[in-house]
Symmetry: C2
Subunit: 222 residues, 2 copies
Amino acid sequence: MTKPTIKAFIFDVYGTLFDVHSVQDTCNKHFPDKGEAISQSWRKKQLDYFFLRQVMGTYEDFVTVTRESLRYALMENGAQWTTEAENELIDAYTHLTHYSEVEGVLQELKDKELVILSNGTQHMLDSLIENAGLAHHFDSVLSVDDVKQFKPAPAAYTHALKELDVKREEVLFMSSNGWDISGAKNFGFHTAWINRGHAPTEQLGLEPDAEYDDLTGILEWK
Amino acid sequence: MTKPTIKAFIFDVYGTLFDVHSVQDTCNKHFPDKGEAISQSWRKKQLDYFFLRQVMGTYEDFVTVTRESLRYALMENGAQWTTEAENELIDAYTHLTHYSEVEGVLQELKDKELVILSNGTQHMLDSLIENAGLAHHFDSVLSVDDVKQFKPAPAAYTHALKELDVKREEVLFMSSNGWDISGAKNFGFHTAWINRGHAPTEQLGLEPDAEYDDLTGILEWK
C-alpha cells in the first residue's frame, strides 16, 4: 500500500525503546534465582495497575504504580526485602537497556518530528532517555502525567495531539505493547506494532496498520 | 470488631461462586494436554479485555469479550480450532462448577437479601445459576450489561445500589478477585475477599474489610 504522509513519529518507551526486563539483573542481585520471575510478575502487575487505576478513577503516577506493583511481585514470589532494595529496583527503571536497533533507527529519522508518549512521569522519562544518551534524538518527551490519564485511555493520546501541530491521521504510533497499539488505533493514529515477542494480535477489533519484528521496519514510513 | 448491619449481601460470580477453570475439561477434550494452559490464558485475557475495553471506552458484552479472549488464548497456545469447538467452549461458561461450600452458605443466609453483581450478561448469568440449581437462593441477579460498564468501574457498583433499597455502607460485597474487591472498596461497600488462591493483597491502597479462605467466613456478618 502507499504509505500516508507522516508528520510525527510517536514512540512508546517501556518495552518499545527499552527492555523492561533489563531490571532482572538488579532483581537477581537481591533475590538470587528469582530475578526472572520477579521481573515478569512486576511488569504484569504494573500494567494491571495502570488499567485498574484508570478504570476505578484513582490515578497515581508511574512511580507509585511501579512501586506498588513491585511490592506485589515481591510478595507473590515469596521475597523478603528492605527499603534499600526496593529503592534500588525502582531506580533500575531509569537505567533500562535500550534495544540494539533503536539508535540507528532514530538517526535515520533525524529529519522527522520524533516524539515520546509514555505512561512514565516526566522525571522518569527524562532520566531514562538521558542516561541512555538518546535525549538529543527527540523533539518532545510527553508524559501522560500531565493529564493524569494512562494509556490506552483516549485522553492520553489526545494529550500528544494537543502538544503537537499535527492531525491524528498524520501520526505513526509505535509500541511493542499490543494494548497500546489497540488504544492508539482506537484513537485514530496510524499504528506500527513492534511485536518483539511474536505474540498473537490482540482480539479487540483494532488491527495495527503494520507489524514488525523490531523498529527497523518503520523506516518504510519515512 | 463489631460488624456493621448488612442489609444486602452482594456476590461476584466468576471465581467467587463458580470455578472458571472448570472449563479445563472441555479445553482438554478439544486440545489434549493444553487444557490447563488454555484455561489460564483465557481467564487472564478475559480480565485484560474487560479492563482495556473499559479504559478505551469500547464496551462489548461478556459473551463477545469471552469469545475474543478465548481466540487469543487458543492462538497463544498454538491451537487450531473449529467454530464448533469455539462455541462449545463458550457454552462451557454456562455450565461451570460451583465451589463446594456455596449452597450451604447461601442456605444459612436465606433470611438475608442475596444479590449477584457480575460482568456477565443477564442471559449468561441466568443460565449458569439455573443450570447449577442455585437460582432460588437469590433475590436479584444484576448484570453490568444494563449500564455497559465493567467492574471495577464505579458506575458498575452504582448499578447495584440503584436497583436495591440500601445504602452503600449497608452492603457486604464478596469476590475472589482482588481487583473486584479493590473496586468495591473504592466505591464504598464493605468487602470480604474470598482469597481462594492465597494471593497477596492488591497494593492499591484499598484493603478488604475481611479476608477468608472460602465463603463460609462471611457467616460472621449475618
